[in-house]
């Protein structure tokens, strides 16, 4: 199940790095000065000065990928203003001292992050901001997410939270300054440990096999799903009288007529009508002609053979069900939706000639579910790496399918 690209060379989990005696770089001048007898006072003063400069002008390279990136921006904004500490943000790694990994790092992104980290000049530090960067958060076991950037980067400071407050990041910067100061003095700095908060951020996922999770607990939860126990009633939970919820149905009146013309008589009540594969394009063309101009979505699902699937017809063979939704524009907008069933070998004709937006939608469904759309102009993967060989939204694909280095 290699869904990531060629993984980066994963550095062994690094121990704490010190600036002066670190293994990554050396300081020629200091070494000369240190070896010269009688210069201790001067060297100490120079060292203090240099440390003062280093700690008070930490420029950040923001490896901001997701939510934490927004809070990272808020840290630079007026309420917290990290510029007070002399911190400015540089967009190029060449001029930065601290890489702030703010957000989830995916297996597709990780080699880039590693490269950008390598491209930063020494001395450099790394802050893992937010639970995704620290541990992968609740995505940690999923096929595309790296379980914490410390699997391939030497993290100096962890800033826990989801996302951490701007104040927390500022505190993280202060901790980093303190750490550098003490390292330069040769003090033994207690290695930054992953915060215990990690345990809280672990999801209570019944089916996700997490080795740190006691199996009995999962089992109990599975069992209790059929347990009819109810909880104590709350007084406020009385349903008031009112109108029923108004939601647009999947089959509008004009759409129903069209289906009749195409010979689809029985309309299901709990989902979109199933159209024969041959009439699929014709239906789309006619829907567009009567005003369903906007492509809403394409949702494919994978249905393995019925045997063994709960509540399924045992005679059912493995197939895909691809649902399409289009919409009318303006007042009283309606959704029309239909679905086609296709065996894994059967190609589904592409909709991209009729709705241009189907291009990317079909690429996504091909990538994740594995449906092959015939006649598609550019059926490449869109989410996973181009050389991935699995379609993760197929039912048999396990949720906790990490590629090798991140296991």
């Amino acid at each position: 199940m290699a869904v990531s690209e060629t993984p980066p060379v994963v550095a062994p989990a690094p121990s704490v790095r010190t600036v002066d005696t670190g293994t990554n770089f050396r300081h020629p001048l200091y070494q000369v000065l240190l070896e010269t007898p009688g210069l201790t006072v001067g060297t100490a003063a120079l060292d203090d000065l240099m440390t003062w400069g280093l700690t008070n002008a930490m420029w950040i390279f923001p490896m901001a990928t997701s939510c934490c990136g927004i809070e990272f921006m808020a840290t630079a904004a007026s309420r917290v203003d990290i510029d007070r500490m002399g911190v400015i943000v540089r967009a190029t790694p060449r001029q930065a001292d601290v890489m702030v990994v703010a957000g989830t790092i995916t297996t597709k992104m990780a080699p880039r992050v590693l490269k950008l980290w390598e491209q930063m000049p020494e001395p450099k530090w790394c802050i893992a901001m937010g639970s995704c960067a620290i541990s992968g958060d609740f995505y940690r076991n999923l096929y595309s997410v790296v379980p914490g950037v410390d699997t391939f980067l030497p993290v100096d400071v962890y800033v826990p939270g989801c996302p951490p407050n701007p104040e927390a990041l500022m505190h993280g910067m202060m901790r980093l300054q303190e750490k550098v100061r003490r390292q330069r003095k040769g003090e033994n700095v207690v290695p930054e440990v992953k915060p215990e908060l990690l345990k809280i951020t672990q999801p209570s996922v019944p089916r996700l096999t997490d080795p740190s999770r006691p199996s009995e607990q999962s089992h109990q939860q599975e069992l209790s799903s059929d347990d009819p126990t109810t909880t104590e009633e709350t007084a406020a939970l009385v349903v008031p009288a009112g109108e029923a919820p108004t939601l647009a149905p999947l089959v509008a009146a004009d759409f129903e007529g069209l289906l009749g013309e195409l010979g689809v008589a029985t309309l299901p009540t709990d989902g979109p009508p199933i159209i024969p594969l041959a009439q699929h394009l014709e239906l789309a063309r006619r829907l567009k002609a009567i005003g369903y101009k906007q492509l809403v979505t394409i949702a494919a699902s994978h249905w393995p053979a019925g045997k063994g699937r709960k509540g399924a017809d045992a005679a059912e063979v493995e197939h895909y069900e691809i649902a399409f939704a289009v919409r009318t524009i303006g007042q009283g907008s309606r959704v029309a939706s239909w679905a086609v069933k296709a065996l894994p070998t059967e190609p589904v004709l592409t909709l991209s000639g009729i709705y241009a937006g189907a291009d990317w939608q079909e690429r996504e469904q091909f990538d994740l579910v594995g449906v092959k759309f015939a006649g598609h102009p550019d059926l490449r993967r869109i989410m996973l790496a181009e050389n991935a060989d699995a379609h993760p939204l197929r039912r048999e694909f396990p949720a906790d399918a990490h590629a090798a280095p991140w296991r």
Binding site: T23, F25, M50, R112, K115, L116, E118, Q119, E122
Partner: protein
């Protein structure tokens, strides 16, 4: 000539001061002990750069260069006159004026041809 010597001294100091900063930096900066092949790769947003950056550039820049030559020659001709406008008087003004008018006619022609549209 005297001012020239002073200028020479000034320039030497200017180079020396900025050079000194680099020398100081060379003394103070750290040296990486590990050789990381990724470190020296050209930065391009984390991707592997495709090919060198030394490519041929669009001819549009050539047009700008031509314009620059034209107008800079013009200003070069204007400079000696500029210091003696009063002495040259109306005669000089007419001579220079006709020169400028011819040049600006060219400018009008070029702008009407769309040569000043950058795209």
């Amino acid at each position: 000539m005297t001012a020239g010597l002073a200028l020479l001294a000034f320039l030497l100091i200017a180079v020396a001061v900025s050079g000194t900063l680099l020398v100081v930096a060379k003394l103070l900066r750290v040296v990486s002990t590990k050789h990381e092949p990724l470190k020296e790769q050209t930065y391009e947003c984390g991707e592997v750069p495709s090919g060198l950056a030394w490519v041929r550039f669009h001819a549009r820049y050539y047009v700008v260069a031509l314009f620059f030559v034209l107008f800079d020659i013009e200003t070069a001709f204007l400079l000696p006159w500029a210091t003696i406008v009063k002495e040259a008087g109306a005669t000089g003004l007419v001579a220079v004026g006709s020169f400028v008018v011819v040049l600006m006619l060219g400018w009008v022609w070029a702008s009407r041809k769309g040569a000043l549209q950058w795209q």
